[in-house]
Subunit: 209 residues, 2 copies
């Protein structure tokens, strides 16, 4: 049972006896109701004696609803093993050549969802561009206007795009690039710390094969 962030290149590694269920196309406005159905389906299959793999893009415990699913499964008496993953909150900046920590420059990392309420805490929605302007404005109340910022779209895929600008201009710069969907927003001096364009291009090329 995999979500929309799991690429075909990963799914081919499933054994021939595995039944693949794409639950990523479900959701949208009825996401919470759909989440309940996904969990119920996992419990049903597990009780029928099947091994259920709930495969998520990123890390299941960082804005992935993994905690909610595990709580339901354990309450239902299902044995659960959690396998940590590569969170896009960390992989996205890396793919753009942005180190999250750097000696003498950044000794801590904060990860927040673009949605203030926890009820839609989904990393895919960490920064919908429709709200990027609002997020940047909020940050400007506590951070200087010239703090380097970057918006990373489709991180680590061949479609990866990175837009860089000072915090007060990042929303305008991202809008000008017309990025099609959810993205990561990274703010901090680390954004300008490395010669990053070269890094970003190279990683994309490698991933594109």
């Amino acid at each position: 049972m995999h979500d929309a962030l799991v690429s075909p290149e990963v799914l081919v590694h499933a054994g021939p006896q595995a039944r693949l269920v794409d639950v990523g196309k479900r959701g949208g406005r009825e996401r919470n109701a759909e989440q309940e159905r996904i969990t119920a389906e996992m419990i049903e299959h597990a009780r029928a004696g099947l091994d259920v793999v709930r495969l998520k893009g990123g890390d299941p415990f960082v804005f992935g609803r993994g905690g909610e699913e595990v709580a339901e499964l354990v309450s239902a008496g299902i044995e659960v093993v959690v396998v940590p993953g590569v969170s896009s909150a960390i992989a996205g900046p890396a793919a753009a050549g942005i180190p999250l920590t750097l000696r003498d420059l950044a000794a801590s990392v904060g990860i927040v969802s673009g949605h203030s309420a926890g009820s839609r805490a989904d990393l895919r929605a960490i920064t919908r561009l429709a709200t990027l302007d609002g997020i940047a404005r909020s940050m400007l109340s506590v951070l200087p206007a010239d703090r380097p910022a970057a918006v990373i779209y489709a991180a680590t895929t061949p479609e990866q795009r990175v837009v860089r600008a000072p915090l007060d201009l990042i929303a305008t710069a991202a809008a000008a690039e017309d990025l099609p969907g959810p993205a990561l927003l990274v703010v901090g001096e680390v954004v300008e710390a490395l010669p990053k364009r070269r890094l970003a291009r190279l990683l994309s090329e490698v991933l594109a094969g």
Copy 2:
């Protein structure tokens, strides 16, 4: 060129033509000088036409000195590709059954090194038990004494140990368990959110084969 956090189970995947260099035993008090020697060695090999893999445990850009190394390499004209990893800051809590985010309970994550200065920002040193008491005391100035806390030692390995206690008692509880080295400290309501002992045991069993 791999560090001490890379296990033998990973190194066996290196091809027969690869020359393995363990740079993890270097360091200690002369860590900064040794870091310079490691970077110089990478540059030397790369200039000799070799492909150099700098293999780190965790994620190279989260308290891994990866940013520093990349900056030096790019300055030297070496092409660099950064491959994101599974940060122990995320994997450790997952292995202990602690979700970093959970709907209605935690909508953001903060990651800090146990060393206040960036000069020794190393995830392996995020909480030396000698300073756990000091860290917990600092946190008590801004967090309630009964905030759930956990110390995770040797996360995801068969030696994994997890100690749980309220924040004001966590240092004493960890000291009583006599954990031998660096560990992760996790603080937040999420520590008590899941039926975690069962999860932790199961993951350790899976990893132990």
